[in-house]
Symmetry: C2
Subunit: 366 residues, 2 copies
């Protein structure tokens, strides 16, 4: 078929007009995909069904018994592995916080039209699998190989381009990734990549290829859609842009008290309130979380837990706040070991990526 | 506090203006709650994480070991049961299709402002628990009792009213319900009511009280918020309205081919296509599912499976379609044994309940 006809059903990316409400297309994505209900920040490890989910196309129908992972390209020995073969390799479990690169997109103005996340596209799981290293050692990395291209079984069209979902990692980065077949001690749920996915600690979700069916080593940088068209920080269309990669720092607060159904405003009894939350960054440990009860005008330090045994996972923090009767806007702000910190106002880009502006929790105290 | 101050954070229900896009409040609900990704209609039993979820307030923090179910009111012997006591009672497993009463709300014009579902707020699970009958027999139903009131642990404000989530059932209906502690053979996930919930086969989701902590038998009909204010079919505010109860018939199609990311339009190869889906009703078995490939102008019968061993669960159906190149709108229409059928245009009411108008799946064939 002519490329133009696929473009008829698959429009180019766009930015919403000023004041344009969320459209039917964005709503259809929001109804399929979902964030972490913020009260679920209470769990060290997110129960699988509460972890954020973003699926580009359809969740593929997968038969774990028949599943194969092919490993080819610039390798000495191409491999064709079933799950039993992967399970026979050295197994490790890593606790990893994962966040969608588009988290915060719907709070941008103007709003890039895509999955309309607010602040909740995050989760932390214990992922079990074998290091990619085990498989690459078995295959033998070719001397000219520079990147590994990971292909999922999910197939669709995006911005006029028909594709299997594919992303690549430079080999130095690929050293530290996991081929995961279990989440929180159980086989992967369908929406999280059953039976096999990539886990790339510290990177936004687009790198953690789900329903992983092929790894191909290449001698030149991969130029596929998800690498060079999507997932770039750009101010204007047509710019080459900067690749989206590691997770920018963010702190989230467990909303205190109880909510109003529709406004999600929190109702809190006046007096001392213990507040807690999580903070994370893909650029290193979080070194400080500040708290503000006056919408960012004044800040106080919080008690932040060290990263401990789980360097890829969020850190918990807590503080005490004395709620005076009335309305308040609570927020927290994380800074990491690289010196990166959360902006008070959303950093805009055309794809709506990496908006780690501070969360704002509206509270009514009485 | 004055009721008026809670009303400040909890506005009355409203209907969107003509052309008003989905607002930030509706989006916050859509980001928390989620529907069944329609390709998951392929599973007879929905994997727990893909089943639709609607939580009015917060998912409560629950400790299964410490959990108690109190049974009181108009009974001879009030009970205080832990999970072990409930598990020691006769156990049954029932396959039940559950649907949110607000499914279809966002397709209404004008749109009632609440959780903005399209068509996907459904799922089918194997629920294991003990019949309510076992517990009522142990407690002894008082001679004047007419209803059972079920109270969940979720607490919040809604339309200015602070409340624990509560719903009642007339005792004849309550005979056929389940106190469920397992979903698909595992403990309930937090978002589905851990550790205990009500399952009311054939009724919309609002009746299936989650995080169930109390059952109180009453001698007069319950008049709580979720019974007499919310969940009523009304054309105008202030009307007493008609209670929302059993699920209206609906058929959904597994969208064929593969999707465009943003428009969700399906791309299908021209030629013969096998189409399949599910159909259900709370008013009796589905007796017919018709299929249309021309947006409802002409209809053909499909092959519909009998309800078999699972009278509370959806039935599968399938048909063959020969896709000509071009654009099509596919739809299906279910009729049940009570004679109820799906309308072609949405039936409007102020709460946006029970909109079972036919699904429309846009397909581009090539």
């Amino acid at each position: 078929m002519e490329p133009s006809s696929l473009r008829d059903v698959s429009a180019p990316g766009r930015v919403a007009d000023a004041g344009e409400g969320i459209g039917a297309d964005e709503l259809a994505l929001a109804a399929r995909n979902h964030g972490l209900p913020l009260e679920a920040l209470r769990y060290d490890v997110t129960p699988a069904g509460l972890h954020y989910v973003l699926v580009h196309y359809d969740i593929p129908e997968a038969d774990g018994e028949a599943w194969r992972l092919s490993v080819g390209g610039s390798v000495r020995t191409p491999l064709d592995l079933d799950l039993a073969a992967l399970r026979a390799l050295p197994a490790v479990t890593r606790r990893v916080t994962m966040e969608c690169a588009g988290n915060g997109r719907a709070r941008l103005a103007p709003r890039p039209v895509s999955q309309p996340w607010l602040v909740e596209a995050v989760g932390t799981a214990d992922w079990t699998g074998t290091p990619l290293r085990s498989v690459l050692d078995a295959a033998g990395v070719g001397s000219g190989a520079v990147e590994a291209v990971f292909t999922g079984a999910d197939h669709g069209v995006e911005r006029g381009v028909e594709q299997d979902y594919q992303r690549a990692l430079a080999l130095p980065v690929a050293e530290d990734v996991l081929l995961a077949y279990a989440m929180n001690g159980a086989p992967l749920p369908p929406q999280h990549g059953y039976p096999l996915r990539l886990v790339v600690p510290g990177w936004y979700g687009m790198a953690h290829v789900k329903w992983l069916r092929d790894i191909t080593l290449v001698d030149r940088p991969f130029t596929g859609f998800q690498q060079t068209v999507a997932y770039r920080y750009r101010q204007a269309p047509g710019e080459p842009g900067v690749p989206v990669d590691r997770i920018a720092p963010r702190a989230l607060l467990v909303p205190p008290g109880f909510p109003d159904f529709m406004s999600r405003t929190r109702v809190v009894r006046a007096g001392p309130v213990r507040l807690e939350g999580r903070a994370w960054s893909g650029h290193g440990p979080v070194t400080e979380v500040l708290f503000s009860a006056d919408d960012g005008r004044t800040w106080t330090p919080t008690d932040l837990a060290p990263p401990d045994a789980h360097p890829g996972a969020w850190q918990s923090w807590h503080t005490e706040w004395t709620a005076a009767p009335g309305r308040h806007v609570l927020t927290a702000r994380a800074t990491d070991a690289s010196g990166r910190t959360q902006p008070l106002e959303p950093p805009w880009n055309r794809g709506g990526f990496g908006n780690n502006a501070i969360q704002r929790v509206r509270v009514f105290s009485r």
